[in-house]
Symmetry: C2
Amino acid sequence: MDQKLNLEVFFVSDRTGITAEALGRSLLTQFNKSDRRYTVQPYIDTEKKLSALIQQIKAIKNDGRQIIVFSTLSDKTLRQRLINEDFFVLDLFATCLPPLQITMKQHSSPTIGQTHGMGNQNRYLARMDAVNFTLNVDDGLRTRDYKRADIILAGVSRSGKTPTCLYLAMQFGIRAANYPLVDNDLEKGRLPHALKPWKAKLYGLTIDPDSLQKIRQSRIPDSRYASQKQCRKEIKLLDALYQEENITVVESSSMSVEELATTLMQKAGLRRQF
Amino acid sequence: MDQKLNLEVFFVSDRTGITAEALGRSLLTQFNKSDRRYTVQPYIDTEKKLSALIQQIKAIKNDGRQIIVFSTLSDKTLRQRLINEDFFVLDLFATCLPPLQITMKQHSSPTIGQTHGMGNQNRYLARMDAVNFTLNVDDGLRTRDYKRADIILAGVSRSGKTPTCLYLAMQFGIRAANYPLVDNDLEKGRLPHALKPWKAKLYGLTIDPDSLQKIRQSRIPDSRYASQKQCRKEIKLLDALYQEENITVVESSSMSVEELATTLMQKAGLRRQF
């Protein structure tokens, strides 16, 4: 008999579900691939909403699908209710709070978690400030503001500068600027004037020419910009420029935006700002 | 004797540490506030890096601070090494994999988790496409592209439209446009022409006038734009316009960007695109 799994994975939370989803997906990468469907169920914060959800899950189970539920329910009654159901539930609070309670030598207070809550308005303002800063200095704009930047990324077009900067701002409150190195800069083999004073916080992105070509091709198909020849030329000159100017380089080809952002934070010794 | 905790919290991972940090912070919201310091240690993927980190943590412990470590180490040897240390470690893989293994009726393969890894290039391209789209249609730009949008947010200046759209794009691959409703639109009490054809995917952000005033005040202090009078007037007209046009409204005052984004996904019936 075929042991193929027919998995229905639910991420259930009384808040956004972002944490439950991140950990659940990470845990499931440890198992072989199978046919899976993921559903996020945020804001399950009343008995009524939970009951409706449980009915829905039961119906799917009765259709013969295997159920996996990852949950972060901070209300003990709701949590208990879900755990007692006859399908697999891994509630991260139920699993992780008991050992933490012992070490914290105190009992947890049953307030709804605020990981992705507003927290306080200052935190919100700090984050918005970083996002606004980053948008204002995107793609080589307003280089006069570089003195306020926490980090500056250089790189060729489509090497991942903008999304990495936005992620740094949004997730960590880092003011991240980025500067596109174009043919003219690359052929001179020198940093442009706008970047020269900021070498201490300047990092260079590079990417393998084939990946770059693929990304550019999806952007402007069959253009000179997306040609193999152009991509190879730019990266060759770029790597030489970084070496000449002694710039710390991060290779973006095999990294996600999250990985690029956290790698840069680590190299630059930056900490979350909120 | 004062039972004040002097907590040093570490988030340790062989990848970005984003998941360990999110869950760890969420769990700690269940305990009373105390003096805490958080340190993220990503890319701990060798014996050597782990040993150095353990030495560092031991030194801090010897200074009399209480240690809490949240970790996601997918390598069993590294994980075991850390868990055996004489300070508190909650490894999320060690804690959560055993029950999952039982239900999955198979053993986990010891590959490094790829939650925030590049996955495949198509996923990367889909995400970049959403971020680019969102930047291109930010703040009422290029309304001719609205047909390609998954969702469109309307709202007054500084009500959280741009960061929410960027988060939707970055985190979920949603193509999110936003349109600023200005005095002229508000006084007419009607949706501007650019928005009229798209009511099915249009959502209105609103915010309480005091919060708006505080945010604008930090942006352009003591301006007419940031005055209490102006903020109150705009929100009053805005709420009337939403009602008149029958627009689904989300109140952003007490919500974080993550909460706004997930609430909008839910209301619009949108799913993660990668």
